[in-house]
């Protein structure tokens, strides 16, 4: 397209076919067919820049952080702390000391439940979550509530998979100690009205944790605009390595929280009588951290930032619409989760065919999707389905991927018709 005037990269529509070239894994063939990877909600593939960055860390910079006096340790420490700063900028945190590196979203939530939670939740208190939650945002709170004698309250959802805000408002009371909700539902794609959820909680002085595992690869996240107190994400769901994630927490809360795990790197002095802990964020990072993971995550952030959120969002919205249209042409297919605001996730069932059978047949056609309960059993129960098939999209997915999905779904009917 030529407009005759110079255009910035941000104005140019994202070409997924070009983006795709950055991801070596996607060049593979499965049983002679091109790999169609539509399981991005489970984990995303990694661009060459991320892979190279991890390799370069081990080849040139590997040393332990925060403790060596030697040159190499200084380089590793710099790389690790630079990654923290990159994560802080990515989330628009006010200060990079509000960034704690963890293994992933699951550990981030467990950290908050077992430190902030144990310090502030007592017998008779209440913790509020929603029906849309992944098990990782249910079970840590159940463990906390069981230990403290507190009560878990659950925000109901509509049949379309949207949070009932009125019911939410009535759940909040003087005993509510924390609200923990998902930003984007991994099972349905629903984008929750996080700002509104935070506003209602803050009116009563209740802190809010946002599970951003599914959101981070799909939208610009600004923790200050959202107003949340905690934000959790996983590197591997946003084109970074596995085993690394981020917990953002406001300095005000972090500074009052007791340690999570004890060990090296989180202390300033230890005697057998008494240990003094480091200030946040290091107080919450006991032991040698996943340094390579953190620098890999920083590379993923750099990659995503260079693409630009406007282009990525536009591409994803267009692809979701294209996929919704394509799937509506498949006989007997019913989309589960039809919220007005959705990320690129399509959960569906085929009349009379179990999702597991759908998954097996699609796999034979080279199409990778997820089938099952997506770690959201209470949500599946609420929606009255034992399982769904889920196609989840990313920046590198193309119309051709969606066409292959549609064709493979028609093969299901060849077998089961």
């Amino acid at each position: 397209m030529s407009t005759g005037s110079p255009v910035s990269a941000r104005d140019v529509a994202l070409d997924a076919a070009v983006i795709r070239q950055d991801f070596p894994l996607l060049r593979q063939r499965v049983r002679g067919k091109p790999l169609v990877y539509l399981d991005n909600a489970a984990t995303t593939q990694k661009p060459q820049t991320v892979i190279d960055r991890v390799v370069r860390y081990y080849a040139e910079e590997n040393a332990n952080v925060h403790r060596g006096v030697h040159w190499l340790s200084e380089r590793a420490t710099d790389a690790y702390e630079d990654a923290r700063a990159a994560a802080g900028r990515f989330l628009n945190a006010g200060d990079s000391r509000e960034i704690v590196f963890v293994r992933g979203t699951t550990e981030a939530i467990n950290l908050v439940a077992s430190t902030y939670g144990r310090a502030h939740v007592s017998r008779g208190d209440e913790v509020v979550i929603s029906t849309l939650e992944h098990h990782s945002n249910i079970v840590p709170w159940q463990i906390l509530c069981d230990a403290q004698g507190a009560r878990l309250r659950v925000i109901p959802i509509s049949d379309t998979g949207e949070i009932d805000l009125e019911a939410y408002a009535t759940l909040l009371n003087d005993r509510t100690r924390i609200v923990s909700v998902v930003h984007v539902s991994n099972a349905l794609g629903t984008i929750n009205p996080v700002e509104e959820i935070v506003r209602l909680a803050h009116r009563r002085g209740i802190p809010v944790l946002v599970d951003g595992a599914q959101a981070a690869a799909h939208m610009r996240i600004d923790v200050q605009t959202l107003g949340c107190d905690f934000y959790a994400l996983s590197g591997h769901k946003m084109f970074g390595p596995t085993g690394i994630g981020v917990l953002y927490a406001t300095s005000a809360l972090l500074s009052t929280m007791p340690p999570y795990q004890g060990g090296g790197d989180m202390i300033s002095s230890v005697t057998f009588e008494r240990t003094l802990y480091k200030p946040p964020p290091h107080r919450f990072e006991a032991g040698t951290p996943h340094i390579a993971g953190a620098v890999g995550l920083a590379a993923a952030i750099e990659y995503l930032t260079a693409i630009g959120w406007e282009r990525a969002a536009l591409h994803e919205r267009e692809l979701l619409e294209y996929a919704s249209r394509a799937l509506s042409q498949v006989p007997g297919l019913r989309v589960i989760g039809t919220a007005k605001k959705k990320a690129g996730i399509l959960s569906f069932v085929l009349d009379g065919v179990h999702p597991h059978d759908v998954g097996t047949i699609l796999d034979r056609e080279g199409v990778a999707i997820r089938t099952g309960h997506h770690c959201c059993q209470p949500l599946m129960d609420r929606l009255g389905v034992p399982a769904t098939a889920r196609a989840s999209m990313a920046i590198y997915n193309t119309h051709e991927d969606v066409d292959a999905l549609e064709a493979a779904l028609r093969t299901v009917w060849k077998v089961f018709g």
Partner: protein, 151 residues
């Protein structure tokens, strides 16, 4: 037909699709033994009912929902164990398991209708679907009051 569609044909044989659509002994049984099988990851859930007299399985039935492999396996199982002793049913399960997990194709003429599931061997992640009804039957026969899973 491509090799992959052929593999699918081996898994989803006509007999399997038929038993999936019209499962046999798909009912409850009063006054006997029963156990529940549940594979939460897949969402397969079934109850196996047995009437055992003097160690002989006089009647077998099942209820529930699941994928085609689990349902067909349950249906074929109830057909094959009727009239057998509990011990014979156990041995049949062993041979069945052998067939669907063997590295190479094995032919076991004694397996009768169960041979329809031989194609599962080529889909290792689906073995748990085929064995769920059998593990549940084992629990029912032993009158073990627990939820069985093969995941």
């Amino acid at each position: 037909m491509s090799a992959d569609l052929h593999a699918l044909d081996v898994l989803y044989r006509d007999a399997i699709l038929d038993h999936n659509k019209k499962p046999r002994n798909f009912r409850t049984l009063d006054g006997g033994r029963q156990a529940e099988g549940y594979n939460p990851l897949c969402g397969d859930r079934l109850t196996v009912f047995l009437r055992v007299h003097d160690g002989v399985i006089e009647d077998a039935a099942f209820q529930g929902f699941g994928c085609a492999i689990a349902k067909a396996s349950a249906s074929l199982m109830t057909e094959s164990v009727k009239g057998k002793t509990v011990l014979e049913a156990e041995r049949l399960f062993e041979r069945f398991q052998n067939m669907i997990t063997a590295p190479d194709e094995v032919s076991d003429v004694d397996l009768g209708v169960l041979s329809a599931l031989a194609g599962v061997r080529r889909f290792p992640v689906r073995v748990k679907c085929a064995t769920l009804p059998w593990e549940t039957l084992r629990a029912a026969a032993a009158a073990r009051d627990e939820i069985v899973s093969t995941e």
